[in-house]
Symmetry: C2
C-alpha cells in the first residue's frame, strides 16, 4: 500500500468529508485507483447496518429518508445516505441537491449525503453503490441508508445490498399495488405507507395484508406496515422502531450473517462478470475491434455466436495474444481474424 | 453441423411451428445446444424488420401489437411477436395467454406469438430476446414485433434490439410524462397515444411536443405522434404508415446499417460479458466455491476486491488451468486458494 493510499484510508476512517467525497467520485468514475483504496478500506468495514429504502417515483422517499436520519441522530448514531436514481441522466452526483439536503441537517458532521446517478452502459450502479457503502461503513457511520426508485431490475439489485429493506408506498397510485416492480414487494422487510393522510391509505394497507396472506416468507417474518406523513415527521419514531424490530429478529434468529453471505454471493458474481469484461476489453479486444466486428455481424458476414466463443476461448492467453498483436500489424482481414483464435493457433503452433 | 441440427434448421426455415417452439424453449432455458442451432440459423437471418414496442403497464400494448400485426397481415406480410414481461415471475412462456392471442388471429400461420418472462438472476432476457428474434427472422417472418413494459434498464436494453422503436403512452397516468423510464422517451422513433379517446390525450401530445423542442435527435428525425384506440382498431393504419415512414427515412439516409451496427456492438459486449462469466463458473469457480468465498467475505476474513482480481488473473488459457485442477484434487483450503493464483503459480512453475 502506497503512503498516499494509507493516509487517504486514515482520513476516510476519521470521517474527513473531503477524503470521503474524493473516494466516492473515484468509485463513480470507475478509476482503477479506487480498487486499491477499497482493498485497504474493506477490513475496516462491516460494522454499519445497511438499510435500503425504495418506492415509486413521487412516494416521498428523500423526505422520509431525511426524517429517519434525523431520528437516528437523536439516538446519537451517525448516518450515511446514498441517494441512487437510475432514471436520472445526471452523473457525478447531483451536488446541488446534496448540499440542500445537507443544509437541512444544519451541516451536522454526523450525516453524509451523496447522490449517485446512472453511468454509461458499462454501468454497474449496483457495484458502485456497494463500493460507496463500503467507504461510508469504513468511515465509521453507524447506519448507511440507500435510497432508490423501485421500478426495475437495477433497483432490485441495489436494494439487495441492504441488510434491511424498507418499501415505501403511497395511497392513490393506481389499481394494482403500485407501479413498482413486483420483485420489490417480495423483498420488503418493513412497509411504509407515506402520505398516509391521503385518501386510500387503508386500501393500500389492506392490499399489503392480502398479499402477505398469500405468501409466507421462508424466515417466517411478517413485515410490519408503518403509516407516515414524512413532511410532518409523523410515524418516523415508529418506523425506526420497526426497523430495529426486524434487526433484533435477524440477530435472534442468527439470520444476519446468512443474509450477508447471500448478498455477497450475488455481488461477487456481479463483480466477476464486470471485471472479466473490463479486462477482455482492455487487454484483448479493443473498442475499435468490437466496432469492426459488430459491422461484420450486422452485414451478416460473420455469426456472433461463433465469434463470441472464439474470443472467450482466447481470453487470458497473454503470450499468445502478444504474438498475434505482432501479426496484426499487417492489417489484412485474415490476420485480424486470427487474433481471436488463441486456442486453435496454439494447437497448430505446437 | 449434425444431421439433427441440420434438419431442425430446415424445419425452422420452413416456418414449422413445432420446430420454432422447441428452438425458443431451448433458448429460454439457456441450453448449450441452442448455440449450435443459432450458429446455423444466423446466416439465414437479417431479412426481417424488427420493431420494438414499449410503454407503461396498462398502456394497452398487447392489444395494439395484435392490431398492428393484423394490419401487416392485410399487407400480406408475416409477423412474429415476442411479448417480454420482465416484471412477471412466470417462465417458459405464458403458454395459455399466447394461445388465446393466437386464436384471436384465427390460428393464422402467418403470425407466431411467444411470451418470454424473467429468468433467474443470471438472466439475460435481452440476450434471449435477441436470439429468439434471430430464430423468427430466419423462419422467414417479414416483421418481428417485440413488446415490452418500459419501466427499467432491462426494457431499454430489449428495445435497443429493434430497428424501429415505438413508445406507447396513455392519457391520465400522472403528472410527469408517464412513469416510464426517462431513457425510453429518448429512443422513440414513433410515439403512440393509445386510449386517445380518454381525457388528457391532447395534454400528452403537448408534453411530447414540448420535449421534442428541447432535444433534437442526431439523425434530425422528428418522431411522429399517432393517436390510437387499439380496442376499436382506430389509428392502426396510420401507425403502420408512420412506422413505414421512418423505415423509408432510415433507408434514404443509409442509417439502417449504422443502427444495426450500433445495436450489434452492444449485444456483442453483452454476449461476451455473459459468456465469460458462464465459462468461469463452469470451469474455474463452481457455485459451491462461490458460496464459500462469499461467507469468507461476509465474515470479513477476505476482501472481495483482491479476491476478484485473483480469480480473474487465473482465468483463461485452459492448459494452465488443467494443471491447477490437478493440484486441487487434494482439497485443503490452501490448495483451493492456489487455484485462483494462475499467473503467480505459472511464473514460479517455470
Amino acid at each position: 500500500m502506497t503512503t498516499s493510499i494509507q493516509s487517504w484510508v486514515e482520513r476516510v476512517r476519521a470521517g474527513d468529508v473531503r477524503a470521503l467525497a474524493r473516494a466516492i467520485s473515484m468509485i463513480e468514475d470507475g478509476r482503477p485507483e479506487s480498487t486499491s483504496l477499497l482493498k485497504a478500506l474493506f477490513p475496516h468495514s462491516g460494522r454499519a447496518r445497511v438499510i435500503g429504502m425504495t418506492g415509486a417515483p413521487g412516494a416521498g422517499k428523500s423526505t422520509l429518508v431525511d426524517q429517519l436520519a434525523r431520528e437516528y441522530r437523536k439516538q446519537e448514531r451517525t448516518v450515511g445516505i446514498i441517494a441512487v436514481d437510475p432514471t436520472s441522466p445526471y452523473s457525478g452526483g447531483a451536488i446541488l441537491g446534496d448540499r440542500i439536503r445537507m443544509q437541512a441537517h444544519h451541516a451536522d458532521p454526523g450525516i453524509y449525503i451523496r447522490s449517485m446517478a446512472t453511468r454509461g452502459f458499462l454501468g454497474g450502479l449496483a457495484r458502485a453503490t456497494t463500493d460507496v457503502t463500503t467507504v461510508l461503513d469504513a468511515s465509521g457511520k453507524d447506519l448507511v441508508l440507500i435510497e432508490t426508485v423501485g421500478v426495475g431490475q437495477d433497483e432490485v439489485d441495489i436494494v439487495r445490498l441492504a441488510d434491511i429493506t424498507v418499501v415505501i408506498l403511497v395511497p392513490g397510485m393506481g389499481d394494482d399495488v403500485q407501479t413498482i416492480k413486483a420483485g420489490i414487494m417480495e423483498i420488503a422487510d418493513v412497509f411504509v405507507i407515506n402520505k398516509s393522510d391521503r385518501e386510500g391509505a387503508e386500501r393500500v394497507e389492506r392490499e399489503i395484508r392480502a398479499m402477505q396472506t398469500l405468501a409466507i416468507r421462508p424466515d417466517q417474518w411478517t413485515p410490519p406496515v408503518i403509516k407516515t406523513v414524512a413532511t410532518e415527521g409523523k410515524g418516523i419514531p415508529e418506523l425506526a422502531a420497526a426497523v430495529a424490530g426486524y434487526e433484533e429478529f435477524l440477530e435472534q434468529k442468527d439470520l444476519l450473517l446468512k443474509k450477508k453471505i447471500s448478498n455477497w454471493r450475488e455481488r461477487l458474481i456481479e463483480m466477476l462478470r464486470e471485471t472479466l469484461l473490463e479486462r477482455l476489453l482492455r487487454e484483448q479486444v479493443g473498442e475499435g475491434e468490437i466496432a469492426r466486428l459488430a459491422a461484420e455481424i450486422a452485414e451478416h458476414r460473420r455469426d456472433p455466436y461463433s465469434l463470441v466463443e472464439e474470443i472467450v476461448d482466447g481470453f487470458g492467453c497473454r503470450e499468445e495474444r502478444q504474438i498475434h498483436h505482432g501479426d496484426t500489424e499487417t492489417t489484412t482481414p485474415e490476420s485480424q481474424n486470427r487474433a481471436f483464435r488463441g486456442p486453435r493457433a496454439r494447437r497448430t503452433g505446437k
